[in-house]
C-alpha cells in the first residue's frame, strides 16, 4: 500500500517534466529536453554563484581554524533557501492536495498518506539544500581541507539539513494552513507579504557583499558568539568538517525534532486536510443594500475582481507600488537628480523622466488578461441588458484608476526633484498619463483578439498568456524605439517639441484603440 502511495507521489513529482500543465498533455521528447536544459542552466548558475560565495568565505575561515563556522554559515544559507522554497509547496502538498479526500476515503492509514506526502516535500527540500550545500562542500574540498571523511560527513550533514528543512517547512506549512483558515482579506495580505519579501530580497541582495566582508573580517569574534549562543549551529558546522561526535549529536537532534513534528502532524492531519478553507475567507461586516448606477456597478465588479486575486494584483498591478516608490526615491535623491537636470537641461530631463515613468507604467497590464479572466463567468455579463462596450470600459477604467493616480504622484515628485519648469512638469504628467491610457487600451485590444476563457487556474491568463507578454514588452519596445528615434533626430527637434509629438502619438493611438474597442471589440466580447 505504502509502495503504491510512493509511486503516486513520485508520478506527481515527475509530472512537472512529463506533463504540460497548460494543455494537460504529455510533453514531447524535445519539450522535456528543453525543460531539463533550462533547469540545468538555472541550477548551474546558482551552483556557480554559491561556489563563488563558498570560495570567498572558506579560505579565510579555514586559515583561522574556523571551518565549522564556514559550514554553519553555508548550512544556514541552505536552510533559508530550502525553507523559503518548500514552505508553500508543503502547504499545497500536505493540506491542499486535490486527492486528500479520495485517499482518506480509501482504507489507508492517514499516517501513510502523510508519510508519502512528506517524502515528496523532502525531495524538493533536498534539491534546494543541495543547491547551496553541494557547491559549498566542493569549495571546502577545493580550498579548505580535502579528506574523504570530510566529504562523507559533508554529504551526511546535507541530508540531515534537508530533514531539518522538511521539519521547518512542516511547521511553517501548518502555520500557513492555520492562518489561511482564519484570514479574511487573504489576497491583500498575500500581496503585502509578497511585496515585503521582494523588498527584503532586494535589501538583502544589495547588502550581501558588505555582510560577507564583515563576516570575513570578524570571523573569530562572530564565530565565538555563535558557538556560545547557537550551539546547534556549531554542531552542524563541526559535524560537516568530519567530527564524529558532533555528527552523532546533530543527527540525534534533527531526528528528535522531526519525530516530534511528525507525531503532532499525524494527529491533526485529517482535520487540517479536510478543513473548508474557503468558508472563512470573506464575510461582510454587515449586509448592505446600496443601489448604484450601471457604470458604477460594473466598475465595482472589476475592482472586486482585481483585489480578489493576489496573482492578478502582483503580476499586473505591481507598478502601482513601484511607480510612487520611484517618485519618492527621486525626491530623496533630488540633489543628485538636480545635477542631472542641470547637465541635460530641464527639457531633456523631462523627456528622460517621461521615458522612465512610461517604462514603470508598463508594469501595470491589468486590462491584458481581464477578458480572459471572465472565464466561465462570462455568461453573466453576456445575459445582462447592457451595451457590450460598458463592461470593457469598466475594465479600462479600473486600469486607469489603479495606474494613473500613482503615475500622477510620481510625475509630481519627479517634477520637484528635477526642478522642472511649469511646461516641462505639465508635459511629464500629460505624456505619462496618455501612455497609461494607451497601455490600458492596447492590453484590452490584445486580449479581445486573443482571449482564453478555458482555463482552470487563473495563472494561465495572468502569467502565461501571449497577450500579457505583448502588452508588457510592447510598451517597453515602444518607449525604447521612441528613445532611439529621439537620439537620431535630436539635432533637428527640441525635446519639448518631441514630448508634444509623443503625447500626440499616444493620444491618437489611444483614441483609435478606444474606438475599436467600442465598435468591434464590443461585438467580439458579446459573441465570445
Amino acid at each position: 500500500m505504502f509502495k503504491a502511495l510512493l509511486k503516486k507521489q513520485f508520478m506527481e513529482i515527475n509530472s512537472w517534466l512529463l506533463q504540460d500543465k497548460k494543455s494537460g498533455k504529455r510533453r514531447s521528447v524535445g519539450g522535456m529536453v528543453f525543460l531539463i536544459a533550462v533547469y540545468a542552466v538555472l541550477f548551474a548558475s546558482l551552483g556557480v554563484f554559491f561556489y563563488g560565495t563558498g570560495l570567498t568565505l572558506c579560505a579565510p575561515m579555514t586559515e583561522l581554524g574556523l571551518s565549522w563556522f564556514y559550514f554553519a554559515v553555508m548550512g544556514l544559507l541552505s536552510v533559508l533557501l530550502g525553507a523559503f522554497g518548500s514552505v508553500f509547496n508543503t502547504f499545497a502538498t500536505l493540506y491542499k492536495a486535490k486527492d486528500n479526500e479520495l485517499l482518506l476515503s480509501m482504507p489507508i492509514p492517514p499516517v501513510c498518506i502523510l508519510a508519502s506526502r512528506l517524502l515528496g516535500v523532502w525531495f524538493w527540500s533536498f534539491i534546494y539544500v543541495a543547491l547551496v550545500f553541494v557547491p559549498a562542500l566542493l569549495a571546502y574540498l577545493t580550498v579548505g581541507a580535502f579528506s574523504v571523511s570530510a566529504a562523507v560527513s559533508g554529504v551526511l550533514v546535507m541530508l540531515l539539513i534537508s530533514v531539518f528543512v522538511l521539519t521547518l517547512s512542516c511547521i511553517l506549512g501548518w502555520v500557513v494552513a492555520k492562518i489561511s483558515t482564519k484570514l479574511k482579506n487573504k489576497s491583500i495580505v498575500t500581496v503585502l507579504l509578497s511585496l515585503l519579501f521582494i523588498g527584503l530580497y532586494y535589501v538583502g541582495y544589495s547588502k550581501a557583499y558588505a555582510v560577507l566582508q564583515a563576516l570575513i573580517e570578524n570571523a573569530s569574534f562572530v564565530g565565538e558568539k555563535v558557538r556560545g549562543a547557537a550551539y546547534p549551529l556549531y554542531l552542524m558546522g563541526d559535524a560537516a568538517t568530519g567530527n564524529f561526535l558532533s555528527l552523532v549529536l546533530f543527527s540525534l537532534m534533527i531526528i528528535f525534532l522531526f519525530a516530534i513534528v511528525y507525531f503532532l502532524m499525524s494527529r491533526s492531519f485529517i482535520k487540517m486536510a479536510t478543513a473548508n478553507n474557503t468558508a472563512a475567507r470573506t464575510k461582510e461586516k454587515k449586509s448592505r443594500i446600496k443601489a448604484r448606477g450601471l457604470k458604477g456597478a460594473l466598475l465595482i465588479k472589476e475592482f472586486r475582481r482585481f483585489v480578489s486575486s493576489p496573482v492578478y494584483m502582483l503580476n499586473c498591478g505591481l507598478g502601482t507600488v513601484i511607480i510612487p516608490v520611484l517618485g519618492i526615491f527621486a525626491l530623496i535623491k533630488r540633489d543628485m537628480i538636480g545635477e542631472v537636470a542641470v547637465f541635460l537641461g530641464s527639457d531633456a530631463a523631462a523627456l528622460l523622466a517621461c521615458a522612465a515613468m512610461c517604462m514603470a507604467a508598463s508594469m501595470n497590464d491589468i486590462t491584458a488578461p481581464s477578458v480572459s479572466l471572465e472565464g466561465k463567468h462570462l455568461w453573466i455579463l453576456q445575459t445582462l441588458p447592457i451595451p457590450s462596450h460598458l463592461p470593457l470600459f469598466a475594465k479600462l477604467k479600473t486600469h486607469l484608476i489603479v495606474t494613473s493616480i500613482p503615475v500622477l504622484v510620481c510625475a509630481l515628485c519627479l517634477s520637484v526633484a528635477f526642478s522642472f519648469s511649469a511646461f516641462d512638469g505639465i508635459m511629464t504628467v500629460v505624456v505619462s498619463e496618455l501612455f497609461v491610457v494607451l497601455n490600458a487600451s492596447f492590453g484590452l485590444f490584445v486580449n479581445l483578439k486573443m482571449p482564453n476563457l478555458k482555463w482552470t487556474d487563473e495563472t494561465v491568463p495572468v502569467k502565461q498568456s501571449l497577450g500579457v507578454l505583448l502588452t508588457l514588452f510592447g510598451g517597453w519596445i515602444l518607449i525604447i524605439a521612441l528613445g532611439a528615434l529621439y537620439f537620431a533626430v535630436n539635432s533637428f527637434i527640441a525635446a519639448r517639441v518631441y514630448m508634444i509629438v509623443c503625447a500626440s502619438l499616444f493620444a491618437a493611438l489611444s483614441l483609435a484603440l478606444v474606438l475599436w474597442i467600442k465598435k468591434k471589440g464590443s461585438r467580439i466580447f458579446a459573441t465570445l
Binding site: 449586509s287 443601489a291 450601471l294 455568461w379 445575459t383 441588458p385
Partner: protein
Amino acid sequence: MLKIEHLNKKYGDKKAVDDLCLHILPGEIYGFIGHNGAGKTTTLKACAGILDFDSGEITVDGIKMKNDLLACKKKIAYIPDNPDLYEFMTGNQFLNFVADIFGVGEKDRKERIDSLAETFEIKKNLSDAISAYSHGMKQKLAIISAWIHEPQLIMMDEPFVGLDPKASHILKQMMREACEKGSAIFFSTHVLEVAEKLCDKVAIIKQGRLIKSGTMDEVKGDDSLEEVFLELEGE
C-alpha cells in the same frame, strides 16, 4: 412572450438546432425535453441572447432579438445549467450587482432579497463569499438573482439540479406564482415527472429538430410523458 421561428444553429457541420419553431405565451410554463446533446442548451442560450444563431427569428414580447437585443434582455432572466457565479463576491454583493444592472430600486431589492433569501433559507449565508457556497446554494442564489427584477420571461437550463427537495418545491411554487402574474417560463429538464406535473406545455427535441409539442394532454395523451418520450426517442 417568446416566439421562436425557424431557428437554425450549426457548430461546424453539425446542426445543433434545425428549423425550430416554438411559441410561448404569457402565463405558460413550457418544458423543453430531449436527450443529451439534442440542442436544448443551444436553443436556450440563443433565446437568452448569448449565442448568435445562423438564421430564424427570436421575438421576446413583440421585440425581435436581432433588432433590439438589449430591450429583449431587459425582459429576460436566464439561469444556465451550471451556476458559475462571481466567486470573488459575496452573495449580497452579487445580488446587488444584478439589481444595479437592472435598475431595481433599493426598497424593492431589499424586500425581494430578504423575502427570497428567507424562502430559500440562505439569508445567513448572503454575507459569505460565493466561493464558499455549495452547488445547491449557488443555484439558489442564481434563482434569486433571476427573480430580483421580476422578469417577464424566465429561461432556465436544468434548474432543479443540485436543489434539495424543499428548494425544488419552492422553485416550482415560484414558477407557478410568476406565471400567475403574467410571466412566462421556458425551461429544460431531464426529470420527466417534474415536467409532467408542472408544465402547461412541453416540447420534445431530438437532434435539433422539434419532434412533438403542445399542451401536456396533446403530447402524452393517456400515456405517461416518460413513455411518450422513450417511444419518440426510439423512432
